[in-house]
């Protein structure tokens, strides 16, 4: 039971972070379908930081450096989306998809190059971080508390405040609802959209590092992040683009994802004799069903997905 709670909270953290990322980007008017790729790049940044940090560095500095590396990698990577979609008015779906593919391919190439350079016989795309990972964990009884959960909670509160209680957040949302109106009162729509996409990159990158440290101590970058970027978008839609609801939706999805890791620990679930792939499918099936019921009265930002053109009426 404790294990289930632990995994639920971990996966919920991932989903909250990435869905909030999507939320910022979409509120500014850009659909960030490349979150999957952003997560991979963030994960790569964090994993490399763990690999190259001296093993005797303190837990606190390890945590900070890894978080910064992941956030930075995600932010830089998402600027590829921003420049294409905001300045060059490219199709956001194509560019997002390209970034997802580029994320997996790029991360694999980079990790393999590093591994092969270190040892010519090593052609794997795996980074190990068993030792470094301990810095993030505190055992409370049998519950493995991860500092990432606290970071997520803080960022969730920060996101709520930033979106609804600051001038920046309200302006950001105006750019996603009616950019022409926002422009007419002197808001620079391009700048706001850049800000939205970069914030989504930062949060997506953080989500990536939380994801690959959840339960495992090495990651094969060829695998990507198993559709978690898209699950997060489903969470965001289910959460109606509102941080608090996103958090609740993420807990629900996190629970189903966690079940596939720990179902064997429950006597009654084990007795049902459901094959394990079914548990693997669960989060995706649930998200489809949930989306089918909630998308009808969608509260999506009105101007999302439409490139802003100053000259257009």
């Amino acid at each position: 039971m404790v294990l289930l709670l632990q995994y639920t909270l971990t996966f919920a953290s991932v989903l909250i972070l990435v869905a909030l990322g999507g939320c910022f980007s979409e509120h500014s008017g850009v659909i960030n379908l490349g979150l999957e790729g952003v997560m991979i790049m963030g994960a790569l940044g964090g994993a490399l930081a763990m690999r190259y940090m001296p093993t005797d560095s303190s837990a606190f500095s390890m945590l900070i450096v890894v978080l910064l590396a992941a956030a930075l990698a995600g932010t830089v990577y998402s600027s590829l989306l921003a420049v294409a979609c905001i300045n060059f008015k490219a199709d956001q779906t194509i560019v997002g998809t390209a970034l997802n593919m580029l994320g997996t391919a790029g991360a694999t190439v980079i990790v393999k190059a590093i591994n092969t350079a270190a040892n010519p016989d090593d052609v794997s795309s795996t980074i190990q971080y068993a030792g470094a990972k301990k810095a993030f964990l505190v055992n409370i009884g049998s519950f493995e508390f991860s500092w990432f959960m606290l970071v997520t909670l803080l960022l969730l509160i920060a996101a709520y405040v930033a979106l609804y209680k600051t001038r920046f957040g309200l302006r950001l949302m105006a750019c996603g609802e009616h950019p022409q109106a926002a422009d007419s009162v002197g808001i620079n729509v391009y700048k706001m959209r850049w800000a939205g996409v970069l914030i989504s990159g930062m949060l997506g990158g953080l989500g990536g590092i939380v994801f690959i440290t959840a339960g495992v101590s090495e990651w094969r970058f060829e695998y990507g992040v198993a559709g978690f970027g898209f699950l997060s978008l489903a969470v965001m839609i289910f959460g109606q683009w509102k941080p608090t609801r996103i958090a609740l939706a993420a807990l629900l999805f996190g629970l189903f994802r966690a079940l596939s890791n720990v179902y064997a620990g429950f006597e009654f679930l084990k007795n049902l004799n459901i094959p394990s792939p079914v548990y693997n499918m669960m989060p995706y099936i649930i998200s489809l069903v949930v989306l089918a019921f909630t998308s009808k009265k969608s509260r999506a930002p009105k101007a999302e997905g439409i490139p802003y053109d100053k000259g257009q009426r």
Partner: protein
């Protein structure tokens, strides 16, 4: 006035695609330089040469055959993406529709011993059904087809592994070899194999895929239904206002699109070229490479034929790079960069058109000036007399 060849939209697409390819290869080369400057030049030529790496022409032809065997399914996936995109839908679910095609065609062939034609039809049906689910969700529940497509991709991947585990070898994670278990399920070769130095995998799939590409073009451009579908893609509400059944059109589009992807799977797996690995942990890349091929081909079915060959050519070429320095994924990297650059095609065309318009304006202005000046002097002369 002479018509500027650059104004032709087809020429513009071709130019834009070439720019994407060249830039993609260039960036790939730079990445290789960063990894290890010693062999970068050799590696990028390996990627571009693919089967030409072999010195003997017979071997070259044989490996060209192998590339073509995988070009056919890629072309089908790219047609699937292209068809949906023309109707304003981004069918990223093509990867899953391809996957279900693999599952059904292989299962029918190996477990039930069906011959190739019914296997192929079943794969098409499976893809169509999966596409229709996305379509239903889109038209009746307003679910974004990209997100439902991705979810279905993962669901189908696990289903495929589950289903095909029942027809796999006991000692390996691979499905039974098709030619041993059920030779009647293998696509007829039509004697094409002998053209490729006895490559038994080349056969019906290749001509069939090209015929379907032409068919897709005809349907989209020359028929009423194609016009209706494209109109729905351009403006859903306008199409509805004109009395077109926009919901039905969306569902039908995604079903046809899924059918194409499912057929693509049958075209590869019913040749026996590949077996399915039942522990596959990510959705097959064919559907995603199809996106690259569709956009690189300028969203034109005929362009897609060339683009599919190119993408498959460099994907296969990745296998030839020196593995002690680089990895095969460098070709995935290049194709994903190409897709990214394809996002800029609209801008490139816009830039070309503005440049042409500017030049024409200047020329017209000059012409006008030249026409006016002699007129004035003529008048002056007239006044003198």
């Amino acid at each position: 006035m002479k018509k500027n060849i650059l104004k032709n939209s087809g020429v513009q697409s071709l130019l834009a695609s070439l720019v994407c390819v060249i830039l993609g290869l260039l960036i790939g080369y730079i990445v290789l330089l960063f990894i290890n400057p010693d062999g970068a030049g050799e590696a990028i030529t390996d990627v571009m040469k693919n089967f030409l790496t072999y010195s003997k022409p017979e071997t070259q032809v044989k490996y060209l055959g192998n590339t073509l065997v995988k070009t056919a399914p890629l072309l089908m996936c790219s047609l699937s993406i292209l068809f949906a995109y023309k109707v304003g839908l981004f069918n990223i679910g093509a990867a899953g529709q391809y996957c279900i095609g693999v599952a059904l065609s292989l299962y029918a062939a190996l477990a039930w011993g069906w011959s190739w034609l019914p296997c192929m039809l079943l794969a098409m049906l499976g893809g169509a059904l999966l596409g229709a689910i996305s379509g239903l969700l889109k038209s009746y529940c307003n679910v974004n087809e990209v997100i439902s497509g991705i979810m279905l991709n993962w669901i189908v991947l696990y289903l495929t592994n589950m289903l095909l585990t029942q027809v796999k070898e006991d000692t390996s994670p691979y499905t039974f070899v098709l030619s041993h278990k059920n030779a009647s399920a293998i696509l007829p070769s039509l004697g094409l194999g002998s053209l490729f130095n006895g490559n038994q995998y080349v056969g019906l799939a290749l001509p069939l895929s090209i015929v379907i590409a032409i068919l897709v073009w005809v349907v989209l451009e020359k028929t009423r239904i194609g016009y209706e579908l494209r109109a729905t893609g351009n403006n859903k509400n306008a199409a509805k206002y004109c009395g077109m059944a926009e919901k039905r059109n969306i569902i039908m589009t995604l079903a046809i699109s899924g059918m194409l992807a499912g057929l693509g799977a049958a075209m590869l797996y019913l040749t026996g070229y590949e077996q399915w690995q039942c522990s596959t942990s990510s959705v097959p890349g064919m559907g995603f490479n199809g996106i690259a091929a569709a956009f690189l081909g300028g969203l034109n079915p005929i362009g897609a034929i060339l683009a599919s060959f190119f993408i498959q050519h460099i994907t296969a070429g990745g296998a030839y790079v020196d593995k002690s320095m680089y990895c095969a994924q460098i070709s995935d990297l290049i194709s994903s960069i190409i897709i990214y650059l394809c996002g800029f095609v609209l801008f490139m065309k816009y830039a070309m058109n503005t440049a042409i318009a500017k030049r024409e304006e200047k020329a017209a202005l000059k012409e006008k000036e030249r026409a006016q000046t002699p007129e004035v002097s003529d008048n002056g002369k007239g006044g003198d007399q």
